[in-house]
Symmetry: C2
Subunit: 109 residues, 2 copies
C-alpha cells in the first residue's frame, strides 16, 4: 500500500542534532580541535565528549591527542567512512526536503 519514507534512511548515529553538527563542521575542515567544536556548537566538555565517543565507536571520526607547543590539543577528524555516512545522510535529508516541498506545491494548486 505504501512506499517507504525517506526518513527511514536517516541513521540516528548521524542524525542526532549535535552529531550532525560535528560531522558538518568536520566536512568543512580537514580537522577541528576540541575547543573549536565546543565553541562553534555551543557545547559543554561533557556533552561534546559524549557525542564524539558515539561517533568514534561508529568509526566515523578519529581523535588524536597531542601538543601544540606546551598546550595540549585534541584533534578530531572525520574518517572516510564518516564522510561517506554524512554525505549519504545529507542526500536522504535533501530527498525528504524535496519531497515535502514538491508535494506542498501540489496541494496549493
Amino acid at each position: 500500500m505504501t512506499q517507504s519514507h525517506p526518513s527511514l534512511s536517516l541513521d540516528d548515529t548521524v542524525h542526532q542534532r549535535v552529531r550532525l553538527g560535528i560531522l558538518a563542521v568536520l566536512a568543512e575542515a580537514d580537522q577541528a580541535d576540541f575547543s573549536y567544536l565546543k565553541d562553534v556548537l555551543d557545547l559543554t566538555d561533557g556533552n561534546l565528549s559524549r557525542h564524539l565517543r558515539v561517533l568514534e565507536d561508529a568509526g566515523y571520526i578519529r581523535i588524536d591527542k597531542g601538543y601544540e607547543g606546551r598546550k595540549p590539543r585534541t584533534w578530531v577528524k572525520a574518517t572516510r567512512e564518516g564522510r561517506r555516512a554524512f554525505a549519504g545522510h545529507l542526500a536522504a535529508l535533501q530527498e525528504l526536503i524535496d519531497k515535502a516541498t514538491a508535494n506542498k506545491g501540489k496541494e496549493q494548486v
Copy 2:
C-alpha cells in the same frame, strides 16, 4: 571568534527522526490516519503514540478520534504552528546541507 552553526537552529522536537518523518507526511497531506502513519513510517503502535504525544504537547499536531462507518479511526493533522516549525526546520537543514556542500567544493579546489 566563531559564528553560530546552522545545527544550533535545529529543534529536537522536530529534528528527531520519527517526528521529522511524521511532520513530513503531514506536510504532504491534509491529514493522515494512525494506521497509515504506522505503515509508511514502519513504527509500532507504542512508538508512534509516544512521538505523536510529543508533537501534540508542542502544539504541532492535532489528533481527532472518530469513526468511519463502524471502524474507529484516529486522524492526525499538522497545526499551523506545526507547519511553520517544520518549514523553518527544513530551511535550517537546507542551510546546513548547502554550507557543507559549498565548503566541500572549496576544499577540492
